[in-house]
């Protein structure tokens, strides 16, 4: 009896144990958790975005709403990262700024982002622009709504600000639309070209001239806060660095020293320091001085031509070009001077290095086998990538977000003229920046405030 029970218990236990083990093993083989997959390939294409006409509370506001919507869409599609879904394809009509969004209607036309906005007159000459951004396939707003207020005459800046916010939220990069460009506007035949400084919005609108055309001007550069511009002027016959106050359009020479030439200036990240090239006795070296005045401190001392210096964003290093190795190459040195380290080793000649505002890349001009290129490389010289190729491309300048470059492209021949072009750092979206006349030497401002 006892033996039977014992046997029975043993058999039952063994059966249960084996059953449990079998079940566990089957489950483990089938799947012991969520299905896991890895996606390693995707696509790169512009994001479809819908921007219905901003709502307006009056006919005057209606006109502005149309203009603001147009500039907003031009900003976004001009990056090459967005594709407009034409209004004729919209199914839903936006009747009220606060009305719930009918997501299925926007999904149906494959809009992945939606911008809804309105323009309101808040006084005789003031307007208020507000907008919301929606992630259509998530059925949710993307960030909070924003509102900008200001005079109606500044509607373009408001449109750029809205575009900056939309761009920033979707891409994760900072915007660059509400910024300006200072450049050299050129007119006349090639052998007698008049040059003067001009500023404009990043997209070529609102051109204004800062100097006359009686003397040659070169290489303007914005200060970090955008309130001043350094440039080289031949007004005295010698190249001489001038400091121009943008607000009052007054200028002064940075350094009055007879017999020397100063050129290629650039502000330090603090806005108080200037680095530039100084030629004396046939030798060109890099100097540093306070923008308010004072003595210049020599940073390089070689018999070679050292020029085109540019600070790193943290102000600790300076990149410049030099032919000390026999050909024009790019070097990096501590901002206080010291032994430079060469970082360009490719074929050809490298010049006009500019440190990205993000600090991750250095843009440069490269000349090789009769062609000019705009390129970027890491700050240690690795990962060199050429973005353009043409008869003459030169003088890159970074957008405030460090993802777009603008430069001068000149066509060949006696009839050749310079023009401004922009390209993103992937080498895509190359396009001409409209200017009223021929243009060269662009310098991008920081984002306006």
């Amino acid at each position: 009896m006892k033996l039977n029970r014992l046997l029975s218990n043993a058999v039952m236990g063994a059966a249960l144990g084996l059953a449990a083990l079998f079940a566990a093993d089957t489950s483990a083989r089938a799947q012991s958790g969520p299905l896991r997959i890895e996606i390693t390939e995707g696509v790169i294409e512009p994001l479809p975005i819908a921007v219905p006409l901003f709502l307006a509370d009056s006919p005057a506001a209606g006109q502005l709403a149309e203009q603001i919507t147009g500039v907003l869409m031009a900003d976004l599609t001009g990056t090459g990262l967005f594709r407009e879904i034409p209004r004729s394809a919209h199914i839903s009509a936006i009747s009220s700024f606060d009305a719930p969004v009918r997501y299925p209607d926007w999904k149906a036309i494959n809009a992945q982002a939606l911008v809804v906005g309105s323009v309101t007159m808040t006084g005789s000459d003031n307007i208020s622009v507000k907008f919301r951004l929606f992630d259509v396939f998530s059925d949710a707003p993307l960030g909070e709504g924003l509102q900008f207020a200001g005079p109606a005459s500044s509607w373009r800046r408001m449109a750029h600000k809205v575009a900056d916010a939309v761009y920033s939220r979707i891409t994760g990069e900072g915007g660059y639309f509400d910024s300006r460009i200072v450049f050299v506007s050129e007119s006349g035949p090639k052998n007698d070209r008049a040059k003067r400084l001009a500023v404009m919005d990043y997209d070529g609108a609102n051109v204004q001239y800062l100097t006359d055309s009686r003397s040659i001007v070169l290489a303007p550069r914005f200060s970090p806060d955008g309130s001043q511009i350094l440039y080289t002027s031949y007004e005295s016959g010698f190249p001489r660095i001038q400091v121009l106050d943008v607000g009052s359009v007054t200028r002064r020479a940075l350094q009055e020293q007879s017999g020397v030439m100063t050129f290629a200036p650039r502000f330090g990240p603090d806005g108080r320091t200037v680095i530039f090239s100084l030629e004396q006795g046939g030798n060109t070296d890099i100097y540093r001085m306070d923008v308010a005045g004072g003595g210049a401190v020599r940073l390089t001392s070689s018999p070679a031509i050292d020029t085109a210096p540019s600070f790193s964003p943290d102000g600790r290093q300076i990149v410049f070009e030099s032919d000390r190795s026999g050909t024009q190459q790019i070097y990096v040195m501590p901002s206080g001077g010291g032994e430079p380290q060469r970082i360009s080793f490719g074929r050809g000649r490298y010049g006009t290095p500019v440190w990205s505002p993000r600090g991750d890349y250095i843009a440069f001009t490269k000349q090789n086998q009769g062609r000019f290129h705009i390129g970027v490389m890491r700050t240690d010289g690795s990962e060199e990538r050429l973005l353009t190729a043409s008869f003459l491309d030169e003088g890159p300048t970074w957008a405030p977000n460090g993802r777009v470059l603008m430069f001068t492209r000149e066509t060949s021949g006696a009839q050749g003229v310079p023009a401004l072009y922009s390209v993103d750092i992937s080498g895509r979206n190359l396009k001409r920046v409209p200017t009223p006349d021929a243009a060269s030497d662009p310098a991008w401002s920081p984002l306006l405030r």
Partner: protein, 416 residues
């Protein structure tokens, strides 16, 4: 009295037996040996000889070739005019008093550094001064679109432009029309022409493109993977007024998948003996399950009431992977996001549609939180867009794909 001991002994015996024998019976099939190909080694001299005799490649990836047919009269300038060291100066003229800009320069532009908000208007653009007569000396800018633009879409597999009128579809198929005189037995159904979206295999930079302006292609000389870089300085927050979000619309009525009702557990056997024995058996089973199961997935054990079916095949997994990758668009993602790998969890309903509010980020690697947010947004859009009609997954294996973890690895999608 010692029943529990016996049962425990039997269970442990079974476990030992399993460990000894089960591995042999249930061992996973060893992976098939990789395909190998016989190769032979050649010396450097032989290689050089082979290369020299081979036809020359049209593009030199190290350096762009000489521009063909460059106009003689317009040789490229030897040095840049802007920053190059200037030539010896002309005799210095007498100092000239600083002159005001000629012709009453335009109204001075407002300083860009203005206080926050847009309230500060930039100066109005003055009337554009008379342009200097340039006449025919200026050449019109190069016409955009003179050369065909490269495909806007970069995809793993390059695709030719779809024929006009074709609907977008990963599968390319020709249109068919119903036969004007269909046979009685088998009338043809009308089929819409479909084709995948035009795509290129990789980014074409302007330096690589060939056009009238860019005669010679200049391929990137190096394209290594980016290394870690310094953190991007965060832009100063702009002074803005927050707008209250609208009342969210009532969520659309979504068909809720009918979950199969759990059936009452059936007793495996009639155990005449006492409760302590049951407890011991359950403990043994739990111990066995715990030992065999993956500790990482212990909380994600499939619901035993759902259809499990046989394991998902590699083809079924690949189908899901391919479907999601078709909608994973990194075109508008930041460079930071393109170096961030995110792992996303999603719950599917029985029709293969992702449950929107179930999508969540489990973790990320290789980037900052900002980059991860953008990468997650792109991943979520991919899942929701391509899953809108339901992924093609076998319903009989629902328990296996109800919970999915997708790792979006953008390594191969970085700037090339």
């Amino acid at each position: 009295m010692r029943t529990g001991l016996y049962i425990s002994g039997a269970a442990h015996g079974g476990l030992i037996l399993w460990l000894l024998v089960g591995g042999t019976i249930f061992r996973a099939k060893p992976p098939e040996p990789p395909t190998t190909t016989e190769v032979s080694l050649i010396s450097a001299a032989e290689f050089d000889a082979m290369v020299s005799s081979a036809p020359k490649a049209p593009i030199d990836t190290q350096s762009p070739p000489e521009a063909p047919g460059a106009p003689q009269e317009s040789a490229p300038p030897a040095s840049r005019p802007a920053d190059a060291a200037p030539v010896a100066p002309a005799p210095r003229p007498e100092a000239v008093a600083e002159a005001a800009p000629e012709a009453a320069p335009p109204e001075p532009p407002a300083p860009p550094a203005r206080p926050a908000e847009v309230a500060d208007a930039p100066p109005d653009a003055p009337d554009a001064p008379e342009r200097d007569p340039v006449g025919a000396t200026l050449v019109a800018p190069p016409k955009a679109g003179a050369a065909p633009r490269p495909a806007q879409r970069i995809a793993p597999t390059p695709a030719a432009p779809p024929p006009p009128g074709a609907r977008e579809d990963p599968l390319r198929q020709a249109a068919t029309q119903p036969d004007t005189q269909p046979t009685v037995e088998q009338p043809l159904e009308q089929q819409e022409a479909t084709a995948p979206k035009e795509a290129a295999a990789q980014t074409v930079t302007e330096a690589d493109a060939t056009s009238e302006e860019t005669v010679v292609a200049a391929a990137p000389e190096r394209s290594d993977r980016p290394k870690a870089r310094p953190d991007r300085p965060r832009p100063a927050p702009q002074e803005t007024v927050k707008v209250e979000p609208p009342t969210p619309p009532a969520p659309a009525e979504k068909p809720k998948p009918e979950k199969p009702k759990p059936e009452p557990p059936k007793p495996a056997a009639q155990v005449a003996e006492q409760a302590p024995a049951d407890a011991a058996v359950e403990a043994a089973i739990a111990a066995a399950m715990g030992a065999v199961g993956d500790s990482r997935n212990s909380a994600k054990t499939p619901d035993p009431t759902l259809p499990v079916g046989p394991p998902l095949t590699a083809g079924e997994k690949d189908g899901l992977r391919f479907a999601v990758s078709q909608c994973w668009n990194l075109g508008s993602s930041s460079t930071e996001a393109r170096r961030t790998e995110v792992t996303v969890a999603v719950t599917m309903d029985e029709t293969g549609r992702p449950v929107a509010n179930s999508i969540r980020m489990l973790g990320f690697q290789g980037g900052t939180e900002d980059g991860a947010r953008v990468a997650f947004d792109a991943a979520r859009r991919a899942i929701l867009r391509c899953g809108a009609k339901g992924f093609d997954l076998p319903p009989e294996k629902y328990a296996q794909w109800r919970e999915v973890e997708m790792t979006f690895n953008p390594d191969s999608m970085r700037i090339r």
